[in-house]
């Protein structure tokens, strides 16, 4: 019998480390998504953050390619701004304001895990609402040998 696939909200840093760090668990996670072993969830904001980062670092064309890469991932779920707006007021004070849309997007999508290397998130009260783990933890939960980095 096929085991249940994990559904993970992937913070922006997962996509960035996956491309910038070849020996990273983030890269393994993206491989697993491409093999349909993990169901990925992002928010509209994740795409904006990634576009900004890649534009600053590598130029606009590469930033657009990266966004196209993400939106064409198999089974990707994107939580829209509108959906976040409807629920955001319920969670004010749980995390810093700028992290709120991500927290709410993950809750709306009913993910199994929120995956991030951002310690501001891992050390926040968000863990009362979601299971927050680092990239390495997710790889190990899938039963794959992890890379030596946390991210």
């Amino acid at each position: 019998m096929e085991s249940k696939r994990l559904k993970g909200y992937l913070d922006s840093n997962v996509f960035i480390f996956a491309k910038e760090r070849r020996e990273s668990n983030s890269r393994i996670i993206l491989d697993l998504i491409e093999e349909r072993k993990i169901i990925p969830v992002v928010s509209y904001l994740t795409l904006q953050e990634i576009r900004e980062h890649f534009s600053i670092m590598y130029g606009r064309e590469t930033a657009i390619d990266e966004v196209y890469y993400i939106v064409s991932l198999p089974e990707l779920e994107i939580v829209t701004r509108d959906k976040v707006r409807h629920r955001i007021s319920e969670f004010v004070g749980v995390v810093t304001e700028k992290d709120l849309p991500h927290l709410v997007a993950a809750i709306i999508a009913q993910v199994d895990y929120f995956v991030t290397y951002n310690r501001h998130f891992t050390e926040s009260r968000a863990s009362q609402h979601l299971k927050i783990i680092k990239q390495k933890d997710l790889v190990e939960l899938v039963g794959i040998e992890s890379a030596p980095t946390e991210y």
């Binding site: 910038e20 491409e34 670092m57 990266e66 196209y68 700028k98 290397y117 951002n118 310690r119």
Partner: protein
């Protein structure tokens, strides 16, 4: 670049179309026109079949060619926090909080 010669059967009408492109100056030779058409075919089909793989390769190649060295992981997180802060500053009013 190393090349391989392939025996190729083409309908005369299609070859005449290729020759027109050469005569018009778009390509130096028939071979160049056919190579370009194969490259374009591959790009289109890759996009249709597995777009994420196609874009992944494009981004990875761009990063390999980039002269910019990635930030270290903690710097990346700090930089992302700044981006998030700026996006939130622009968006906060929309959420009404």
């Amino acid at each position: 670049m190393e090349t391989t010669t392939l025996p190729l059967r083409l309908p005369k009408k299609l070859l005449a179309e290729v020759d027109l492109l050469v005569k018009a100056g778009l390509y130096e030779t028939r071979s160049e026109a056919i190579r370009d058409s194969i490259r374009r075919l591959i790009e289109v089909k890759k996009l249709l079949l597995e777009p994420h793989r196609y874009y992944r390769i494009r981004v990875e190649e761009a990063l390999t060619e980039s002269k910019k060295k990635p930030l270290d992981p903690d710097e990346t997180i700090d930089e992302l926090r700044k981006i998030r802060e700026e996006l939130w500053r622009r968006e906060k009013a929309y959420f009404g909080i």
